[in-house]
């Protein structure tokens, strides 16, 4: 194992049984320095069968989806459907700090591996269950792929054009949210454990965290108004994405000083635009009622300039404005490059590829990417022989018996 002594969670051992909505939890813990062991079925994780794939050729070592979520983890195979596999799993649990799983409610119990059973083996075990609807409540056994959690959490209804269907966010965001909030729970449990010595079960629900991030309950409770979606429009007008000469910019005038600054920009940059501006234009309510007129004038201004020009002019007057980027634009951005947000790693099948640096920048315990995503069963020997003490012969037998 490479030296990880300088990372913030180094020394912690994590077992990662996740297949989808919990994948990013293990990823975060690995990026923060924990030794995360990804456990897959002998045929490989379901995540290996999700695209996109390198060169669009499906294959267990080609899935960029799998690679995204499992880089920095070690990987072993284990068949937990039989008693022998479960016995090995229990041996692993005894030397583990944290277990993350995302199976349907009741599955771990049916395997005899629910929290009370595992806690008997290891009282300090912290277990995070990342589910669609949580462990309790009337919907707890409902099926919940990302789109269901996102819809039920309310974030879907308020996103999309005003005259079209609601639209789900890219890249399975309810899974990310559920994973991220489960890591908060794990960290809290870890802090508590350092004084009590006891572990606990962390119950994270993709539906519940999405509802929190939608933030719709308080406004409804307060005003009885149902929030509607409206494309990119936010706050006072102008407050949306506008087309410009070479692409798009996102301009906001939420606070009064934003509008004042924006007016200066327009007057300076496009003196030809006829802005007959009365006092009432400084009132956000007036601007919102005249959204079509104002957005048309703003578009006239933006169409005469490039996105970085507009951004720099607005920023000089403290007006919130950025270019609207594609992934390629973002990857080429000089600020992002200057910060080394993209790094190179070497994967045995994919080859050298670019990857995202973890966003947690800690001065004394920096994050690092120590290894590419594991090949199927890549660390079986390390874990089973070197760490659990199985002999090479025993390992071969486990393999032949379909246990690993």
């Amino acid at each position: 194992m490479p030296d990880e002594s300088s990372s913030v969670l180094s020394g912690l051992v994590v077992l990662d049984l996740t297949e989808n909505r919990g994948l990013y939890a293990g990823k975060m813990l690995a990026d923060l320095g924990a030794d995360v062991i990804k456990i897959e079925k002998p045929v490989g994780s379901e995540a290996r069968r999700i695209g996109p794939y390198k060169d669009d050729i499906p294959g267990p070592e080609n899935s960029l989806y799998f690679i995204n979520f499992n880089t920095n983890k070690r990987g072993i195979t284990l068949n937990m459907e039989g008693p022998e596999g479960r016995d090995i799993f229990k041996q692993l649990v005894k030397r583990t700090d944290i277990l993350v799983e995302d199976s349907e409610v009741g599955v771990m119990q049916s395997l005899g591996l629910d929290y009370p059973s595992l806690q008997e083996l290891n009282p300090s075990l912290i277990m995070a269950a990342v589910t669609g609807f949580g462990q309790t409540g009337p919907y707890n056994t409902f099926k919940a792929p990302d789109i269901v959690s996102f819809a039920m959490g309310g974030l879907m209804n308020v996103n999309g054009p005003g005259d079209a269907a609601p639209v789900v966010a890219p890249c399975e965001q309810s899974h990310y949210s559920a994973s991220i909030v489960s890591v908060f729970g794990i960290m809290a449990a870890l802090l508590l454990r350092s004084t009590t010595g006891e572990g606990q079960l962390v119950d994270a629900s993709a539906h519940e965290i999405t509802a929190t991030l939608t933030g719709g309950i308080m406004p409804y409770s307060n005003t009885s108004q149902i929030a509607r979606r409206n494309g990119s429009q936010f706050g006072a007008v102008p407050g949306r994405i506008f087309p410009c000469k070479d692409g798009y910019v996102h301009i906001l005038t939420i606070r009064p000083n934003h509008w004042v600054g924006f007016l200066e920009v327009v007057k300076m940059a496009s003196p030809d635009i006829s802005l007959i501006i009365g006092e009432e234009w400084y009132d956000a309510g007036f601007r919102n009622r005249n959204v079509d007129i104002i957005d048309a004038l703003v578009t006239e201004f933006t169409m005469a300039h490039n996105k970085m020009e507009i951004t720099e002019m607005c920023q000089a007057k403290d007006v919130p404005c950025t270019p609207v980027n594609t992934t390629a634009d973002f990857a080429a951005d000089p600020h992002i490059k200057e910060r080394d947000f993209f790094i190179q790693i070497e994967h045995p099948v994919i080859g050298q590829h670019t990857y995202l640096r973890p966003p947690y920048r800690l001065s004394k315990t920096p994050c690092s990417i120590n290894r590419p995503a594991p090949l199927l069963g890549q660390h079986n020997r390390d874990v089973y022989c070197d760490e659990l003490g199985y002999s090479s012969d025993e390992l071969s037998k486990l393999k032949a018996g379909g246990i690993i």
Binding site: A151, P166, V168, V202, R229, F234, I254, F341
Partner: protein
């Protein structure tokens, strides 16, 4: 019950959404979070638009006289929802004496978090290098929009960063013009907040083991861009620039959002294999269209997905979102209502899990807030004491923590240091 972060004191210099949400999460597990704030800069206390923005503070011809604003009125519901269970101390950091007091507070604190404009703390001599000298193991956390670098001075709100990172570009239907894509939410703010809260706890864990504090920077831009990891890999490995996929899935059909009975009512349905498809058809009453060869296999359904979805919608349009969900889930098929904010308020699942937090907010009456975003079996607060009035805990901070005399407090108040 012992709370997970009991005994941890956090000085909170954040405003808006991401910072306050991060520290509120820490307060929910027992950290003592002290908002260090001043009448000079009311931020979200004056409504989301700030002073003058929402009309909540009367503005005279010479602007706002902050010494006359009634602070008890400045606990708006929108401020409350990001600042539950925190304390508040009035402290004017633009005055040198205010900064002296802040340094004294540092000596008895564990963590400082800010999302002020870039360079403000440095200008005040309160950056990590300075604070570390006052308390060696302090954890100093900054939550900039873009972080140190070329654009460090940019003013942005979270929605801008959805656009900057590529998130907004990819959030829409395939036919949605770029101007109409989804960039009107605070999702990125919350994500940055949650990631920061976890990282602070990790740093506290490390400090517990080694005695070492540190400086942490989490830029909202990078925290948000990480959520598009798969799209970035697709770009770097396959040179593909992704565009919005909408609600459909490239590997499964049906998988979409469908119109239901009622005005702007929708549901989602996802079918992953042949078994589920068979059950789906029989729940729909085995309609004739479903027997056509175009829909027999996943492959053919994907190929004829437009027609497939149109047929399914003839069934969903006769039912409410909740009916679709209940009928299909009972048959073991993934389906859900596209809940609006009213549905969320009445959500049986959220209510059964104790998610709703009903608070008497005084001037605004009783309002329901989002409660715990996840459930710990121990170490988490139940219920809430609400959000603080600005300066509500001045006595606790100045008398109890810093041991100032009443005369000294009076003098500092007169000089607008405690302000």
């Amino acid at each position: 019950m012992k709370l997970a972060a009991q005994g941890i004191r956090i000085l909170d210099l954040t405003d808006a959404v991401s910072g306050p949400f991060a520290t509120m999460m820490l307060a929910s597990i027992g950290a003592e979070v002290i908002r260090v704030e001043s009448r000079r800069h009311l931020g979200f206390r004056g409504g989301p638009g700030g002073p003058g923005g929402s009309g909540s503070i009367p503005q005279g011809p010479d602007g706002i006289d902050f010494s006359k604003v009634d602070m008890s009125l400045l606990v708006s519901p929108n401020f409350t929802r990001y600042n539950l269970d925190k304390l508040s101390v009035a402290l004017n950091l633009t005055k040198p004496e205010g900064r002296d007091l802040f340094n004294k507070l540092i000596q008895v604190s564990d963590v400082v978090v800010d999302n002020l404009s870039f360079g403000v703390l440095q200008k005040w001599g309160l950056d990590y290098q300075a604070l570390e000298k006052i308390k060696e193991d302090i954890i100093v956390v900054t939550m900039p929009s873009l972080g140190k670098g070329l654009y460090e001075q940019w003013t942005t709100w979270g929605m801008n960063l959805l656009s900057f990172t590529g998130f907004a570009y990819n959030w829409g239907h395939p036919e949605t013009p770029v101007e109409e894509r989804a960039a009107s939410n605070t999702y990125g703010d919350y994500i940055a907040g949650m990631k920061t809260a976890s990282t602070i706890l990790a740093a506290l864990y490390h400090r517990g083991k080694t005695g070492e504090g540190q400086y942490i920077e989490i830029s909202q831009t990078e925290a948000t861009a990480s959520l598009l990891g798969v799209s970035f890999l697709d770009y770097f490995v396959n040179n593909r620039v992704t565009s919005p996929k909408g609600n459909r899935h490239s590997q499964f059909a049906p998988y979409n959002c469908y119109r239901c009975k009622g005005d702007d009512r929708w549901c989602v349905i996802a079918v992953f294999n042949q078994d589920e498809w068979q059950r789906f058809c029989s729940v729909l009453g085995s309609p004739d269209w479903a027997k056509e060869p175009e829909f027999h296999s996943m492959e053919t359904r994907l190929k004829n997905v437009g027609m497939l979805d149109k047929n399914i919608e003839t069934w969903t349009q006769l039912r409410t979102p909740n009916q679709v969900m209940k009928i299909l889930q009972a048959a073991g098929i993934a389906a859900g209502a596209v809940q609006n904010s009213e549905d969320l308020y009445f959500d049986l699942q959220l209510r059964a899990r104790g998610h709703m937090l009903e608070l008497d907010t005084g001037p605004h009456g009783t309002i329901t807030f989002d409660g715990p975003p996840l459930h710990l079996s121990s170490g988490q607060k139940t219920g809430s004491d609400g959000a603080p009035i600005l300066g509500e805990h001045n006595d606790y901070v100045y008398k109890q923590l810093l041991g100032l005399s009443p005369e000294e407090i009076e003098r500092l108040t007169e000089n607008q240091v405690i302000f």
